[in-house]
Symmetry: C2
């Protein structure tokens, strides 16, 4: 059994941050019902590269395992159907622009009135309130606003964003946590909660270390390449075979083991290297010494020696070596997201290893509105289904077909 089996999530998310939150919940066993706007053909990642036979990899990679319901929230009748579903659901989650759910007539007060146990999680770029609440936000622009660009990249540069969408994904993780937390609260007190979380706040969480240092020193941090200012050697060091190895040698114990295994006992006598702060101060000298020694060793030789003393080092993988990484193969990291039409994509699987829970290797991926009739059938009369729901589903399918024809 999966830990969240029997939990029902009503999911109004799209793009990246929201869907990754609900995918994690789905991976853990929750039933995630993804509501998609019928009039736009649903989540626009359905129409992003890569598409085979109307099946998008972009959609599959973060929506595998979920159910899809087509809906038009501008129709009060359909909003009412959604609210009927709220009665027996555990959580509602959304990542629209602030104000959108309100336009649909959905507020926490209304949800709570229907179901006091409901948890309502809202993910946005900057938060539901405040001077930036109405700023449009994508990962790259929030990385800019949140200062993370100012500390990433080569020394001397003006800074670069992180190549991964860390704003979206950290928002996603906070979102999944918030849903689980709200359910804990509901199970214990009978009342869920409403969480307003932002990618900006998530990225600030991810910089607590440097931000706290800045608050003490007032000294602006700058991009420092692969170094950390507080210790040395930290960074990438080239070996004889042209392959660099990443090091993170900080404590005195680590430094002593490192010097010994590399056959450089004189490092331990050098007053410039005597403490972590001394090595940090004299980092250019430390680095020159390490490079001198690595110049005579292949990266394999370096890694073997370092592993023998449990040094903190890493190989710098690209995506080819990453997907073939022994640990990635062992953990069965990649799984299949399968559409009913037979199209399948290899995508990262559930990131959590729950003891005793078998690793799921195959996940269904829903076509637009694949579950509309099933889910709405749970709360609608046959007349409502025929007169309201079926036409919406038909619209969604037509819209999707037209968009796929263009793409």
């Amino acid at each position: 059994m999966k830990p969240l089996e029997g939990i029902r999530i009503l999911d109004f998310t799209q793009f990246m941050a929201g869907p990754m939150a609900t995918m994690l919940l789905s991976d853990m066993g929750a039933e995630v019902i993804k509501f998609e706007n019928a009039s736009t053909g649903g989540d626009n990642t359905r129409y992003r590269k890569f598409i085979k036979d109307g099946a998008s990899s972009h959609y599959a990679t973060r929506n595998r395992g979920k159910k899809s319901v087509a809906i038009n929230m501008k129709d009060p009748k359909q909003v009412e159907f959604f609210l009927r579903l709220v009665k027996d659901a555990d959580a509602v989650i959304e990542n629209y622009k602030p104000g959108t759910m309100e336009k649909f007539g959905v507020t926490y007060d209304r949800l709570k009135e229907i179901n006091p146990k409901i948890t309502y999680v809202r993910i946005s770029g900057y938060g539901q309130t405040g001077p930036y609440a109405d700023h449009a936000a994508f990962d790259a622009t929030v990385q800019a606003e949140a200062g993370i660009m100012s500390i990433t990249g080569p020394e001397g540069s003006d800074g670069f964003k992180c190549g991964a969408s860390v704003g979206d994904y950290s928002g996603a993780l906070l979102g999944a946590f918030s849903v689980a937390m709200g359910i804990v609260s509901a199970l214990r007190s009978g009342e869920g909660c409403c969480v307003d979380l932002s990618m900006m706040d998530a990225l600030i969480f991810m910089q607590e270390n440097q931000l706290s240092v800045y608050k003490v020193t007032g000294k602006l941090p700058k991009p420092s390449g692969n170094r950390y200012p507080a210790a040395s050697p930290i960074g990438d060091f080239m070996c004889k075979d042209g392959i660099p190895v990443m090091l993170n040698i900080s404590t005195d114990k680590q430094w002593a083991d490192f010097a010994k295994v590399l056959g450089q006992p004189q490092w331990l006598e050098d007053p410039d290297f005597v403490s972590m702060s001394k090595r940090a101060e004299n980092f250019r000298k430390v680095e020159a010494e390490v490079l001198r020694v690595f110049a005579d060793m292949t990266s394999d030789e370096v890694c073997e020696k370092l592993q023998s003393v449990q040094a903190v080092y890493g190989r710098i993988n690209n995506y080819e070596t990453l997907v073939n990484h022994p640990q990635v193969l062992y953990r069965k990291t990649f799984v299949n997201a399968n559409y009913a039409n037979g199209i399948s994509y290899s995508v990262p699987g559930n990131p959590l290893n729950v003891v005793g829970m078998e690793r799921q290797m195959d996940y269904g991926t829903a076509a637009i509105g694949e579950n509309t009739m099933e889910i709405m059938g749970q709360v609608c009369t046959p007349e409502e289904l025929e007169q309201v729901v079926a036409p919406v589903q038909k619209l969604a399918e037509e819209k999707a077909a037209a968009l796929y024809a263009k793409s």
Copy 2:
């Protein structure tokens, strides 16, 4: 009331990933009891810069709000005291090197025997099992192994790590989620769960987009500066006043609004710019055009115009402008971590805005073992307290005093 009030977490974490997980739980109301190794003077961040009167900023920023208990897990008696606490606790969390808790005699089976509802969350670099389980891991080396370095940094470079410790913090967020999820499971089924999670898996979660693309195309992604390959203009664009603005203009609607508000209707006639994929293909021409227009406008003028059409843009903040950011001031992002001796640090606060929960601005920060007698007193006899617990606390204090004297 905070959502996790009444939840008790027994916390064996140190450094960064683990403590940030339990700090989030503590922020949400859980009672977090941090067990610190008496013989080493506790979490070694207590002795990292910056320290005033034996109060470390490094420790405060990720341990504010927690209780501290000094313990020696090599003593089976003290392990037994810990196990007595397990009986009424909700979760145990640790981020030691795999195998360490086993050496202390602590396994999930043993915890479950004492309390079937317990949740046990284990954070490590690469996981508890597999060929890399015994690899030492710090953030920088896991960033290397997990491939995120290979997609970060300027175009043409070999790649750089993200300046923030995204491996640690994404592991922290998965850890906090796992605890909450286990508690949901315990409350519903009477049984918690054991989660083995790794920073490596967390970083793969954070790259699902690019990894899925790679799995389809087989084309190795490389660092692409501040661009995304799938759309343009995305990246930093210099303005007349020497201040760049970050743009993320992707859809046709966004492009049309952008062209119009900048007074460049001819862009909408240009066949090279006619679709998202065309603009991505001709990104150098797109960028040259944008730079031409921005060269005549200050960054304030650019932002004002872009905001008027709800364009997706951002100012590129450094830490000085970030801590004074209107949204950061509005959200009261920075709070105080206060030690009993009067030393206080300004640190990032709770990242979640829970509706109806007042923002806490002041947090206590425990000296080593500040709560040893209080917590152990709940499960020990007066004799045990006097003979076993008090001496451990004394040892911890002496060790700490000696380390502070050196630092």
